[in-house]
Amino acid sequence: MTHTLPGLLDTDAIRKDFPVLSRTLHDGKPLVYLDNAATSQKPKQVLDALNRYYEMHNANVHRGVHVLAEEATALYEGARDKVAEFINAPSRDEVVFTKNSSEALNLVANMLTWADEPFRVGPGSDVVITEMEHHSNIVPWQLLCQRTGAKLKWFGLTDDGRLDLSNIEQVITEETKVVSVVHTSNILGTVNPLDAIVRRAHDVGALVVVDASQAAPHVPLDVQALEADFVAFTGHKMLAPTGIGVLWGRLGLLEELPPFLGGGEMIETVTMSASTYAPAPHKFEAGTPPIAQAVGLGAAIDYLNAIGMDKVAAHEHALTAYAIDALKSVEGLEIIGPDTALDRGAAISFKFGDLHPHDVGQVLDEQGIAVRVGHHCARPVCLRYGVPATTRASFYLYSTPGEVDALVAGLEHVRGFFG
């Protein structure tokens, strides 16, 4: 079966760059990797950059005058430049490297835990999130509230998987200090109307944090157009290795807010009684950073830029529309989340009759099809829609309509197996 959907990338060529995609499993079945929202596969170009770094340049950064130390520093800081350009940051100093999105979000929450006026969060102030957040954008704010006496509020969800902003004026108020919201839901696929939230939050003087973990890999991300104050994302979902993430923050805020982790690299001077801190971003990067991983992220960004993020987005949009139609034709399957490709990312969660996702996933695995099953670290979403868990298929730039067809055929097999 051949497919000609407008907007698709040349996946035959792209897939050659990803060694793991040619694996076969379970007696020769080709791997159909549909777990991209959990983590992406890595192209040779990224793996080569990691190897080259370790084989040629490995040294610690920002300390030492020898050649390797200078090269390692240039590569690490070069990766920061690439990230800054990738997200259209006004300044490279606004790019803080972290270990992942979770650490980036915890970092913001901890800056605010210790902040003085005008950023102080305490009794009488509110923190606002949404019911569709990943646990990484819920728990840090619960901790902040427990530690400061602030109150946690959140936006609920509509039946069709969107944010319910009908009460935005009651949820975001003069008491609100910070609003943290996901750009694209990892479980529902929903792309949120951030402009309305940012506008209301800034009207009342609240900071806005955007969890862009499922956006940075998939669509052009422009932090200036977004107008948020902080943006978090994670390298491993965008072709880079694990262990590297990014917190972008407005320079003025990074300068004013206090550091969280202390250690080497983040200081200016240290005496036994007190220290002064390095300017941002180093103020927030205590200790030896994930150097090779940052270099790998830089290589991943080069790879994505060579294809073009607008083309990646168009490919996934076409594939998502195709997949939604195909899945809707499967008897007993119910999509949890928006059931159109409009304002939607490439992660599709669904319920399949009365079968538990674990069983669905296990029988799909036997056919070489890798999907994620469970609550996807967004348990409140499962509670909201009355399901214990979902099965989720999620696509990326190397995914094909043929893989969607394989999923649909796989689901028919699952039905037969338990039928």
């Binding site: 379970h26 538990h356 996702p357 674990h358 069983d359 296990q362 469970g374 609550h375 214990p388």
Partner: protein
């Protein structure tokens, strides 16, 4: 290679398991009961609420009833069903021995020779022990039962 690469799915989904999944035994919450517990499998969202009713104390204590409600995969549901068959009517001491034997089987990574005289239908879960992600599913109901039973026994002291 993954631990289960090339492994046959049928070794996990034995017919006995599918039977218990389709027609679970002793399901539904019943009165009277001594205590109720709620256990979850945080990685996958399986949940069980389980009640136990014991009779007698100490070494004479007997499992009179175990009732449960929950949602989860075929493995967790079938395992809870098999567990109720195995523990209801036994002394707590004997039932705990069966539970230990089942736990041992599930931790064996497919290496243990299950004792069919002790485990009866539960031997069908031997294959599950080769799938690390599913062992917790098979243990959910058993762990809830042990927790509830231990709570009742402690409360008697």
């Amino acid at each position: 290679m993954g631990a289960n690469a090339g492994m046959k799915l049928d070794s996990m989904y034995q017919e006995i398991i599918l039977d218990h999944y389709r027609n679970p035994h002793h399901k539904g919450l019943r009165d009277p009961f001594d205590t109720e517990v709620h256990h979850v499998n945080p990685t996958c969202g399986d949940e069980v609420t389980l009640r136990v009713k014991l009779d007698g104390t100490g070494a004479d204590a007997k499992v009179v009833d175990v009732s449960y409600e929950g949602h989860g995969c075929s493995i967790s549901q079938a395992s809870a069903s098999v567990m109720t068959d195995l523990v209801i009517g036994r002394t707590v001491v004997d039932a705990l021995k069966v539970q230990e034997e089942f736990l041992h089987l599930m931790q064996s990574k497919g290496q243990a020779e299950p004792d069919e005289d002790v485990l009866e239908d539960a031997v069908a879960f031997a294959g599950v022990s080769k799938f690390p992600a599913r062992v917790k599913c098979a243990l959910l109901g058993w762990m809830a039962w042990r927790d509830a039973t231990t709570q009742v026994m402690e409360g008697q002291k």
